[in-house]
C-alpha cells in the first residue's frame, strides 16, 4: 500500500458526469490511471440530467461531479432545492459553449458584421410583426453559463429574454434533434453538441463562449462542503489527478487520443471525428483545461454568476459572500503545488464581446 493510500479517508469514489466534451478531465484521470496512481478507485456515473447530478451530490449518492459552475452556487443558496453548501475546488474547462440559431432563423437574418445580436433582433422584430409565435431558445439548465450568456447577449441587443422570446431547457445530447425537428429556433449548449448541430446543417453558430467572455466559468468539480471537510486528503488526491489530467489534455500531441477516449460508448458515444474541432489547440474557440490558469475556481467568476442570478430574478439579495465562498482556489493551489505542476496565475478579467468589463466590486450583497 502506498503512503498516499494510507492517508485517504475514502478510496472508492463515485463521480457523476453529463456527456459533454468538458467532462474530459474525469475520463482522462480514470482511463490513464491518474486516479489509480493516487490510490483512488474512481467509478464514473453517466447522468441523464443536471437535476440528477445536483440531487445525487446533495444526497451523497455521488461523492462529487462534473457540474455547471452556477449549479454549485444555486445549491449553496438553496435555489431549486434545499440549500446544501458546496465547494468548487477546481474549474474543469474554459470554452466549448456556443450560441446559435436554426438555419431557418439564420436565413431570415440580415448578414451580420459583428458579434452583437443586432441582426437577430431585426429578424425577431419582423417575426413579431408577422404575428408569429415568439422564437424558442433552449439552454441546458436554468442555472448555467449558457443561460446567462444567452440572456446577456439578447438583452444587449435589445431583446427581452423573458418577454420577446421563450427560453426553455433541453438536455445537451438532445439539443441537435430538437433543433432539427424545428421545436427550437435557437440554442446555447456545450461541445460537442453545438458543432453537431452546425455539422448537420440544422443550425448555425453565432457566438462562441470564448468570444462572449474569454475564460468564462463553465464546469467545475463540485462536492458538498461537508464532503470536502470530511475527506480533505481524498479531495487533494482527486485534485492532483485532475490537474495532471488537465496538463495531459492540453498537450497538442494528445488531441487524437483524448477524442478517442471521450468518443467511447460509456462516455459521449459519438464518433471521435465529431469531437476533434472543439478539442483542437489550433481552434482559438476550442476547450482549454490548464493553459492560462484555466483550472482556477475564481471568486470573481462566482460573483459574476451570482450577479446574473440576481439580474434575472433567480435569487434574492444577500448571497454574494456565500456564492463567492463556494470557490476554493486555496485547495486548488495546494494540490497543484503537491503535484509539482506549474500553474499560471489567473489573468485579469477579459472584456466581454461588446467591450464591457465586469467589475466584481460593483456586485452588491
Amino acid at each position: 500500500m502506498s503512503p498516499a493510500k494510507l492517508t485517504l479517508e475514502k478510496a472508492a469514489i463515485t463521480l457523476g458526469f453529463v456527456p459533454l466534451t468538458d467532462c474530459a478531465l474525469l475520463v482522462v484521470a480514470k482511463e490513464r490511471g491518474l486516479f489509480a496512481a493516487e490510490g483512488l478507485q474512481v467509478s464514473l456515473s453517466r447522468e441523464p440530467s443536471w437535476a440528477n447530478v445536483r440531487d445525487k451530490v446533495a444526497l451523497g449518492l455521488l461523492d462529487g461531479a462534473h457540474m455547471l459552475a452556477p449549479m454549485a452556487l444555486a445549491l449553496t443558496l438553496g435555489v431549486g432545492s434545499d440549500p446544501t453548501p458546496m465547494a468548487a475546488p477546481m474549474a474543469l474547462n474554459v470554452n466549448g459553449s456556443s450560441l446559435g440559431v436554426s438555419t431557418a432563423l439564420f436565413d431570415s437574418m440580415p448578414p451580420a458584421s459583428d458579434l452583437t445580436g443586432a441582426a437577430l433582433k431585426q429578424a425577431l422584430d419582423r417575426r413579431r410583426a408577422e404575428g408569429k409565435a415568439p422564437a424558442a431558445f433552449a439552454v441546458v439548465f436554468p442555472h448555467s453559463l449558457h443561460a446567462y450568456m444567452l440572456r446577456h447577449w439578447l438583452a444587449q441587443a435589445g431583446v427581452d429574454p423573458d418577454a420577446d422570446v421563450r427560453i426553455t431547457v433541453v438536455p445537451p445530447p438532445r439539443m441537435p434533434e430538437r433543433v432539427a425537428a424545428g421545436d427550437i429556433d435557437g440554442f446555447c449548449v456545450g461541445a460537442p453538441w453545438g458543432g453537431a448541430i452546425e455539422a448537420s446543417g440544422a443550425g448555425r453558430m453565432l457566438l462562441h463562449g470564448a468570444q462572449f467572455w474569454p475564460g468564462a466559468p463553465d464546469k467545475v468539480l463540485g462536492v458538498t462542503g461537508a464532503w470536502a471537510e470530511a475527506h480533505p486528503q481524498t479531495l487533494q488526491a482527486l485534485l492532483r489527478a485532475l490537474i495532471r489530467a488537465a496538463v495531459w489534455s492540453d498537450a497538442p500531441e494528445n488531441e487524437a487520443e483524448l477524442a478517442a477516449l471521450l468518443a467511447r460508448p460509456e462516455y459521449l458515444y459519438v464518433p471521435a471525428a465529431a469531437l476533434g474541432r472543439a478539442l483542437s489547440k489550433a481552434n482559438p474557440f476550442g476547450l482549454r483545461f490548464h493553459a492560462g490558469g484555466a483550472g482556477w475556481p475564481r471568486r470573481e467568476h462566482a460573483l459574476w454568476l451570482f450577479s446574473q442570478m440576481r439580474r434575472w430574478g433567480q435569487v434574492g439579495p444577500g448571497g454574494a459572500a456565500a456564492a463567492e465562498a463556494v470557490c476554493r482556489p486555496d485547495l486548488y493551489a495546494q494540490a497543484a503545488a503537491a503535484a509539482g505542476v506549474a500553474v499560471a496565475e489567473p489573468a485579469a478579467l477579459a472584456p466581454f464581446y461588446d467591450g464591457s468589463v465586469f467589475d466584481p466590486s460593483e456586485v452588491g450583497d
Binding site: P48, S49, W50, A51, N52, D55, K56, A58, L59, G60, L61, G80, S81, D82, V140, F141, P142, D162, R166, I167, T168, V169, V170, P171, P173, R174, Q314
Partner: protein, 194 residues
C-alpha cells in the same frame, strides 16, 4: 389530487397509477415524456408530477419554475426534511417528484412512497426476468454442448454432462461459459459460421 406520471416505461407508469388508487379524489395521467404533455400541462394542472430519474426531462421541468405561474419544485429534497432517508431511497430507486402548487407535505410523501415501492417492485421484476432469460439461454447452450459431446465422443447424456462439469470445475469457470466455449470451438473446427 391530480398526479402526472412521466415515465418512458409504460408498464411502470401504470403500476404507479394503480398504487395510487387509495388516494381520493384522484386523477392520474401518464405520459412517456414531458414533451408529449407540455402543451396540456396548464389545462391538466397537476398538483404533483412523478418522474423517472433517468428521464432527461427533469431539467426541462426544473425550468418551469421560472417561466410559468405553476411553480414545480423538486420534492425529493423537500421531503427529506420530514422523512430522513426517503429522498435518498427515492433517487436511488429512480424516482423524483415535483410539487406544482402548495400541496400538503404528507400527501406528497404518500405519493412518493407509492412511486418508490412501485419502482422498486418493477426493478425486481425486471431483474428476475433478466435472470430467468439468462438461465434459459445458459441451459440451451449447455444442452448444445452436451449434444456435441454425445455425438463427437459417443457418450451418453449423463456422462457428457459429467464431463462438462469436470471441465468447468477444473478451469474454475461457470458451466455455461465452458459450454459456450465448447460450442464456439466446435463451430471453428467444423469451419462453419453457424
Amino acid at each position: 389530487m391530480r398526479v402526472l406520471v412521466i415515465d418512458p416505461d409504460k408498464a411502470r407508469a401504470a403500476l404507479v397509477a394503480e398504487g395510487l388508487a387509495d388516494v381520493k379524489p384522484l386523477e392520474v395521467r401518464s405520459a412517456p415524456s414531458f414533451e408529449e404533455v407540455e402543451t396540456e400541462l396548464e389545462a391538466f394542472a397537476p398538483d404533483v408530477i412523478v418522474i423517472a430519474c433517468d428521464s432527461p426531462d427533469r431539467d426541462t421541468l426544473e425550468n418551469l419554475r421560472e417561466r410559468t405561474a405553476h411553480n414545480p419544485r423538486p420534492v425529493v429534497m423537500f421531503v427529506d426534511r420530514s422523512a430522513p432517508g426517503l429522498a435518498d431511497a427515492a433517487i436511488q430507486a429512480g424516482v423524483a417528484a415535483y410539487v406544482v402548487d402548495g400541496l400538503v407535505a404528507n400527501r406528497v410523501r404518500s405519493v412518493l412512497e407509492v412511486a418508490l415501492t412501485r419502482f422498486q417492485l418493477m426493478q425486481k421484476l425486471r431483474g428476475d426476468l433478466a435472470k430467468a432469460q439468462a438461465d434459459l439461454a445458459a441451459r440451451k447452450t449447455i444442452d448444445r454442448a452436451k449434444g456435441l459431446l454425445m455425438k463427437e465422443r459417443g457418450l451418453d447424456e449423463d456422462t457428457a454432462y459429467q464431463l462438462l462439469r469436470k471441465l468447468a470445475m477444473d478451469s474454475g469457470r461457470p458451466l455455461a461459459a465452458v459450454a459456450a466455449d465448447l460450442v464456439a470451438y466446435a463451430k471453428v473446427l467444423k469451419g462453419g459460421q453457424e
